[in-house]
């Protein structure tokens, strides 16, 4: 059985419901049970078309895909260690992991160039790791240690690596979107060819801040003054409320029409597709200085936070279906199908990632808590660093 | 539940001593029942219950000093419950402080180093101490006077006794202008070394030393330690001694005294006294020499109103009515009960009142209004055989007259013959801020003339 190169979401749905599809899938299922599958029901048929590629097709250079697999495996291992650390009580506050969505940031940051900036919401560990942050300092931050990448002052939601381009994770849904637009304006005002990758979730598109910022981006972009890529990570749920239950117009990419911003969709589970899209789109934005939007269809295969009531808003079946299209499993399949790596080699890479993460956990665990003097630093810039009573 | 508080029984009263409980805890009391004996600096009196009920709790113990307004007991009415707080005394606070210390030692200390634990305990003790001091200060503030913060600071820096300052602010609050006026007049000066009540330790006290010296003109007296030699006994001054000492030191240091002495020939007065006593014997009245002297001093004041005056914060207050204070020696010190409006009273009334007041003064049974409000004082030490003495003005009064013994000695009569005669010396001490020497001299000669022509006493 062959799956066609181009499908519509509707087509996917029909395929998924067809027992013959599952028969075909079984052939690709990896020993661990991970393998290609397709999207769960999309109740609203307005969600437009998305390109779903043949699982075996590889548009990206195969050596590069190995590196990408290494990155994604590291993110996965890291996030799993986070979940464990949270359960152990070593990570406090909120914890949002990227499991299931790895292909989006991994793919888009393949198109990142030095001088570009990245800004995202609170599901930000992957962005930090992909921009070259040491897993040790990221984990140390989550553990609330002085060796953390923001000195233990921000935690999971506020990772920054300003020099490498990560301008932060932000905790208020949608609140960071205007910042990203302003950053893009500054890039052209300062006469550089840099661009801003602005990540946002489906939930944030109901916020006023999104609409105001998109309006500005369209407006300034019209003058070639706003090189920003809106990367909508549509994982179908804002916490526990599905897109269908938050907006009547579920074609999220199309919302950018209202602001004169060109847009497209991409299969956010397929890193190969994301890379192709990202490279093309970022080049366009870099050249024109115009804003552009990409809706990446993806799925969070774990809880919203460290703990939530998954079964209340989605079914086990739905989650399992998406797990069949897990981005890492999908990439593994491609690597095997194209004889790039074998099972053993894949396992080796995963073990390496696990080892690296174990080191990070050890480092975080053994690091000292922040010095108490740090409480009063970084409140103000400049000589009069702190103005209150210590 | 009604509190029984230490009543304020005099303007200078800051605290009183609970001498003795007359009722026990649990006793039923009616309104007006005497429940305790209280001693103030001036007087010992019975404290009466103002409410009926059960004497639920005796807070103060016998011999304990309680600030004015401080609770000494609770009277529980029918159906009322006893209050949660157990007492304002030192005992329970100490136990609270101990509990605090234990908590810190037992709880947090496990996670802390030993050093930190010790520090915590130290802190606990300090807090306990502060709480006690705070409670006292509050008690005084509530019961005695309200004063703005700067007033308290100025009082501490300049060693002022705020109980001597009248407040012109809302609810009698002493405000800065009041204390500035008092500093100018010197009327609120506390006596040397009186930094015992903690006000002097207020912030800024140390740096204010030079200012204090400049404004008050005195440095707190540095007293020597006791010698503790064999044959010595160390006595704590009684409250009355302390108060008298303070007031007299202040008077002697801050009132510019002048003195005028006259020698009065007393034969005529003695003869009249003998006659009158013979007539009054049936009524059980016996006039004393002092009664004559007091009456004469009062009568003579008619033309010298500035000697019947008070030196107040707002100026010299002249009094038409003569309220004659008479010094009565007590075992524990001195008290000056007052014969009100002595000028309008006859010798018999004066005699009766003076005896009654003196008797009750010695028994400690004077009411506050019986020893307050004097406008001039007579102090008689004639019975002790002194030839003459000089008294210290009793502030805020302008004058005090010292009366010495009557002596019989040879004298020249009008014809130059030597005859026996009786004489008595009277010495006026007066406040030069109020009266001048001439006034004093003329007044004393008027007293002399009156006593030497005692019919004038009857006019």
């Amino acid at each position: 059985m062959k799956i066609g190169y181009v499908m519509t979401w509707r087509g996917v749905r029909n395929y998924v419901r067809n027992p013959r599809f599952w028969y075909s899938v079984r052939r690709f299922v990896s020993p661990k049970g991970k393998g290609p599958s397709m999207a769960a029901d999309n109740e609203n048929s307005d969600n437009g078309d998305v390109e779903i590629r043949d699982e075996g097709a590889v548009a990206t250079d195969t050596d590069r895909l190995v590196d990408i697999y290494r990155e994604m495996a590291l993110i996965r291992a890291f996030e799993e260690a986070c979940q464990k650390g949270f359960r152990q009580g070593k990570i406090g506050g909120y914890l949002h992991v990227y499991i299931g969505q790895e292909a989006v940031a991994t793919g888009f940051l393949e198109a990142f160039k030095e001088g570009d900036k990245v800004i995202t919401a609170y599901r930000d560990h992957a962005h930090a790791l992909l921009l070259g942050a040491d897993p040790k300092e990221v984990m140390a931050e989550l553990y609330g240690k002085g060796t953390g990448m923001v000195k233990g002052k921000g935690g999971s939601m506020h990772l920054f690596a300003a020099e490498q381009g990560l301008m932060g994770g932000y905790g208020i849904v949608g609140g960071h979107i205007p910042l990203g637009v302003g950053m893009a304006y500054a890039m052209r005002y300062q006469e550089t060819d840099h661009i801003t990758q602005l990540y946002l979730g489906d939930g944030s598109m109901s916020q006023g801040a999104f609409h105001e910022a998109a309006n500005l981006a369209g407006l300034w972009g019209k003058e070639g003054q706003c090189p920003v890529v809106f990367i909508v990570e549509n994982n179908k749920y804002g916490m526990g409320t599905s897109v269908e239950r938050t907006t009547a117009m579920t074609d999220l990419a199309a919302k950018f029409d209202a602001y004169g911003i060109e847009h497209e969709k991409v299969d956010g589970m397929d890193v190969d597709a994301v890379i192709e899209c990202a490279e093309r789109v970022t080049e366009h934005v870099r050249e024109t200085g115009q804003a552009y939007a990409v809706e990446a269809l993806t799925y969070r295969t774990v809880s919203h936070g460290a703990a939530d009531f998954m079964e209340k808003y989605r079914t086990k079946e739905e989650v399992n279906e998406w797990r069949q299209r897990d981005p890492i499993g999908l990439l593994e399949h491609k690597l095997i199908e194209n004889d790039v790596l074998d099972e053993e080699k894949l396992q080796e890479i995963k073990d390496e990632a696990k080892e690296k993460v174990d080191e990070a956990v050890k480092f975080a665990d053994e690091s000292e808590q922040p010095d108490l003097d740090e409480l009063y630093t970084d409140v103000y810039a400049g000589e009069d660093e702190y103005m209150g009573e210590e | 539940m009604p509190e029984v508080i230490m009543p304020k029984m005099g303007d200078a009263m800051e605290e009183g001593t609970l001498l003795k409980w007359l009722k026990s805890e649990g006793d039923e009391v009616s309104e007006g029942d005497a429940i305790a004996e209280i001693e103030t600096d001036k007087v010992t009196m019975e404290l009466e219950a103002e409410d009926a009920g059960t004497l639920a709790e005796l807070i103060a113990s016998e011999g304990q000093d309680v600030p004015v307004g401080g609770a000494i007991a609770f009277i529980q009415g029918e159906g009322e419950e006893a209050p949660e707080r157990s007492s304002g005394g030192g005992e329970s606070e100490e136990s609270e402080a101990e509990e605090g210390g234990e908590d810190e030692g037992g709880g947090e200390a496990q996670a802390q180093t030993a050093t930190e634990t010790e520090e915590s305990e130290d802190t606990g003790e300090e807090e306990g101490g502060e709480a006690q001091a705070g409670a006292q200060a509050d008690g005084r503030a509530n019961g005695q006077f309200r004063a703005s913060p700067i007033v308290r600071r100025l009082a501490a820096e300049n060693d002022l006794d705020l109980s001597k300052v009248e407040g012109s602010g809302p609810a009698g609050r002493i405000v800065e202008r009041d204390v500035r006026a008092a500093m100018e007049s010197g009327s609120a000066q506390r006596d040397g070394g009186a930094a015992e009540d903690g006000e002097a330790t207020a912030d800024g006290g140390a740096e204010a030393q030079p200012e204090q010296a400049a404004q008050a003109g005195i440095q707190a007296q540095k007293l020597p330690d006791p010698t503790e030699a064999p044959g010595t006994t160390l006595m704590e001054p009684t409250k009355m001694q302390r108060i008298i000492g303070d007031r007299m030191t202040e008077a002697k240091q801050h009132i510019p005294h002048f003195y005028a002495t006259v020698e009065v020939q007393m034969d005529a007065a003695m003869a009249l006294r003998k006659d009158l006593n013979a007539q009054l014997e049936e009524d059980g009245i016996k006039l004393s020499v002092n009664d004559f002297v007091m009456k004469a001093c009062a009568v003579a004041l008619r033309n010298y109103p500035n000697l019947n005056a008070l030196y107040t914060s707002k100026g010299i207050e002249l009094h038409e009515t003569v309220n004659m204070a008479m010094a009565v020696a007590l075992d524990a010190g001195l008290i000056t009960p007052v014969i009100k409006d002595i000028g309008s009273k006859g010798l018999a009334t004066i005699s009766r009142e003076s005896k009654d007041l003196a008797t009750r003064a010695r028994e400690g049974g004077l009411k506050p209004d019986e020893y307050q409000g004097g406008t001039i004082t007579v102090s008689n030490m004639g019975m002790f055989g002194v030839d003459s003495f000089i008294a210290i003005v009793n502030p805020p009064q302008a004058s005090i007259i010292a009366v010495s013994s009557i002596v019989k000695r040879p004298s020249y009569d009008e014809d130059g013959e030597i005859v026996p005669a009786t004489f008595m010396k009277l010495t006026l001490s007066a406040d030069h801020r109020i009266a001048n020497g001439r006034d004093g001299a003329l007044y004393m000669s008027e007293v002399k003339k009156t006593l030497e022509n005692p019919v004038l006493l009857m006019v």
Partner: protein, 330 residues
């Protein structure tokens, strides 16, 4: 050298001074460019600097304020106009959650050299939704600086300082006083933040205010001098955060009495904060409780008489001073 200028001219001059000095300074806001600004603060600047530096924005306070924060994080120095501060509630998430805090939660990796300016306070019958004094609101948040100049010289000097400051500065202008005149120093007259100004010297009572209430206090002080022979000192706080505790405490140590005046509501206001500072640091110098004079606890009314009654008056200030002095109110 100094010339007499209006508050409006001085304010514009401060911005122009820095725009000429530093290319990274841009102005943003609603109708500030082509239209010249609702209050004509930026009049003429669009022609002078062009649309890239004098940016007309859509009516979208949250959006353009957030964008300005992003620009500032990139090293630009935007000066954002709130047409009036009343509209800043729409942007308050951006100001409070991002501008004030991003330096801290980034562990010091970024800074936000941003100025947000506009008219603050009431007094011109704009009624409930267009009348607020937000010093306490913004002054509450660590990470922000908040200033409120009242003289033309200060508005220029403090604008220069605000633009140079590497932190987000909430610049609250006395909206009712744009047309008032005063001496303004030529050139760079930068006024340091965190330094209060003694607007009038005195010895008996200290009147403490900021913004246009300073002028009210000066008038009340004159009345007290004439009618009661009272010498009142007037202190213009002018910098709400950082706050100059020393000048106020020293003044109260001298006068022993204090009245704090604010247009905003009494509860949880700057005046309460000032009163708290005084009792903490000058308690032993006080001769009377610190008096607070504030706006009435109602949304701002429209009718002139009601509006006047809702704001502190000269009489209310003078009487508060009299209460502190234990003399009869008039």
């Amino acid at each position: 050298m100094a010339e007499t200028k209006t508050y409006r001219e001085a304010l514009r001059e401060g911005m122009v001074h820095e725009m000429d000095r530093d290319e990274s300074v841009v102005l943003m806001g609603e109708d500030i460019g082509v239209y010249g600004g609702t209050h004509l603060i930026t009049d003429g600047l669009y022609d002078q600097y062009g649309p890239k530096r004098v940016m007309d924005t859509p009516i979208s306070e949250g959006g353009f304020t957030g964008a300005a924060i992003g620009m500032a994080m990139m090293g630009m120095r935007p000066v954002v106009e709130m047409m009036t501060w009343n509209f800043s509630f729409l942007a308050s998430d951006q100001i409070v959650q991002n501008a004030a805090k991003v330096r801290y939660f980034s562990g010091g990796q970024v800074e936000v050299p941003l100025v947000i300016r506009g008219p603050n306070g009431g007094g011109v019958q704009l009624s409930a939704q267009h009348t607020h004094s937000l010093e306490n609101f913004y002054g509450h948040f660590p990470g922000l600086k908040v200033v409120s100049p009242v003289t033309p010289n200060d508005v220029k000097g403090m604008m220069i300082t605000a633009i140079r400051d590497p932190n987000p500065v909430i610049f609250l202008e006395a909206g009712a006083l744009y047309g008032t005149k005063g001496e303004v120093e030529d050139g760079d007259n930068a006024v340091e933040f965190g330094k209060a100004r003694v607007a009038r010297e005195g010895s008996d009572v200290t009147l403490i205010a900021y913004g246009r209430q300073v002028n009210l206090c000066v008038r009340a002080a004159d009345t007290l001098e004439e009618e009661d022979d009272v010498s009142a000192e007037v202190i213009d706080i002018r910098s709400i955060r950082p706050f100059d505790e020393e000048t106020i405490v020293e003044s109260v140590k001298k006068t022993h009495r204090a009245v704090t005046v604010q247009e905003q509501w009494r509860w949880f206001g700057v005046a309460s904060e000032v009163a708290a500072i005084i009792q903490e640091q000058a308690f032993d110098y006080l001769d009377a409780p610190v008096e607070r004079v504030s706006g009435a606890e109602v949304p701002a009314p429209y009718a002139r008489n009601l509006e006047l009654a809702a704001f502190p008056s000269e009489k209310a200030v003078a009487n508060a001073a009299r209460r502190a002095l234990y003399i009869e109110e008039k």
